[in-house]
Amino acid sequence: MTLLDHVPSEAQLRRSAYRRRQTVYSVLVAASSTAALGTLLVIAVTGAPGWDRVRRSFLDPEIARDALPTVLSGLWLNVRLLVCCAAGALLLGLVIAVLRTLRGPVFFPVRALAAGYTYTFRGLPLIIVLYLLTLGVPGLRLQGMPPVLVLGGIALVLTYGGYLAEVFRAGIESVHSSQLAAARSLGLTHRQTMRHVVLPQAVRRVAPPLLNDVVALQKDVGLVSLAGPIDAVRAAQIATAQTFNYTPYIVAGVLFVLLAIPLIAVTDWVTLRAARRQSGG
């Protein structure tokens, strides 16, 4: 495995040069076809008879400027919720997945509970979970009831924890059983096997779908607004109701995309890295 003094052959050099040329070529083709399509779309949209009306009601710069501060302050709520809920849901998902993969008849009730949880919360619409927790639970009028934001966060964690648990489980079960056998034959306990052998491989394999679910969560955290708090979309809705102009929604939409881009970029990068590593290229 001494790659240091590896000298590529003539054929290999020709091959890489050819590949480089092909890459440049395909980038150029992609760029020009995108530009052509973009131009066509711009002409089609701006040439439409109602374009002026649409532009006034969706792309009014003055209304956008007025709405920006309130939408931004709403977005801050989304961001804080996202960070807390993503962490909570990942942790809960991992725990549930591990519980679901416990072996042995003793653990049957634990497995059944964990399975029941994933079935229930993947099936329940998020809005219903939110209603139950943010308007139903406070109705019990218990002492020390947490604020509505915390309750909403719990609803999000419960729902997304269900999805993430299944992703983690898929990762855990994708680790070949020979790995487990090898680990056990080395004298590792079940717990050690999970911790040092199975989970590191499992988490790495399912990182792309996990991050994908986090991106989805980013859009759903705003649903806590149905219990009262004003998030970015609600702030846009209020501004829209006051001005009869939909520009604030576009403002919120753009902010959401900007927020998602780093996360999506990380997802793509992780996916690419995982694919390269697995194909050994």
């Binding site: 995108t34 109602g50 969706f58 219990a227 009262g228 708090p229 609600r234 829209t240």
Partner: protein
């Protein structure tokens, strides 16, 4: 290639959004015009029964708009307004006959069994296609309601509400009343519907809920009976307006509108509002 196909998808999605957006609602602001009637003498008025005035309302007629489901007793805000209008047109109390007409029947197009109907009809462009409305006799006010156990129950001034957690339905004049008039220190809570907001009020997640006065009467009277009206907020935004309903192109419309106009300018309507809505129904004014 992956990134360019995503760009394409985004552009297409953007185009789809723009394409579906063609039907944005327009801000319509109906302002009924008060015109002076040409000749509204009692004898020349083409009422259903000459010399008599036939006024309609629904059955049952609710408090505080009517009293004891008896529109002819002159008690309750709308009964009082109806008699005041009749008087302006020259009809004595004995000349007024009441008939009962269902709300939905009244706003539907078709022949009417009444000269005018008074039943909390909001004046809307859509309804104007089927019926006539007089000038508004009441502009709907926003009110704060709270549980009787709430810390803001019994408060009397707007300044007293600054420390309250208030809520309202999204996109309503009620929300505007919180942000523009009451201006509480805590951010208002906003709900998709009044039903969600009522739940939060019952749970104690809100100190007070802002709704319009008719809704407040309904909520405190029928839905959440351990709630009360704290008070009415000064006029805000574009208020909903109640008008007397008449047959489409009724020859009486201009005369009735004229009578309502006179009652407005003489301050009679304001007095009746004070007497029947603020004092009797307990919706005092917050200042």
């Amino acid at each position: 290639m992956a990134s360019s196909s995503r760009l394409l998808a985004l552009t297409l999605a953007g185009a789809a959004v723009v394409a579906t957006a063609g039907c944005a609602p327009q801000d319509e602001n109906p302002t009924p015009v008060v015109t002076a009637p040409p000749s509204c003498a009692k004898d020349s008025l083409p009422t259903r029964t000459p010399g008599k005035l036939t006024i309609a309302t629904d059955q049952p007629a609710y408090e505080p708009w009517f009293s004891d489901d008896k529109p002819d007793n002159g008690e309750g805000f709308e009964s009082a307004v109806a008699y005041a209008v009749a008087e302006k047109l020259g009809y004595a109390r004995a000349d007024v006959t009441w008939v009962r007409v269902k709300f939905d029947t009244a706003i539907a197009p078709g022949p009417k069994d009444f000269d005018f109907d008074i039943n909390q009809f909001s004046i809307t462009e859509e309804r104007k296609q089927a019926v006539d409305f007089s000038a508004p006799y009441y502009l709907v006010r926003q009110t704060v309601i709270a549980l009787k156990s709430s810390k803001i129950a019994g408060r009397t001034s707007l300044a007293d509400l600054r420390d309250a957690r208030l809520g309202a339905q999204v996109g309503t004049t009620s929300y505007q009343a919180i942000t523009d008039v009451i201006k509480p220190a805590a951010k208002p809570q906003v709900y998709n519907s009044n039903d969600d907001a009522k739940k939060a009020l019952q749970n104690g997640q809100l100190d007070g809920l802002v709704v319009d006065l008719p809704t407040a009467f309904y909520i405190t009277g029928a839905e959440i009976t351990d709630a009360e009206i704290v008070g009415q907020v000064p006029q805000v935004g574009t208020p909903e307006a109640f008008g007397l309903l008449l047959d489409k192109n009724s020859p009486l419309t201009s005369c009735v509108t004229g009578a309502v106009g006179q009652l407005t300018s003489a301050g009679t309507l304001k007095e009746l509002e004070q007497k029947w809505l603020a004092q009797v129904a307990g919706a005092a004014e917050l200042r």
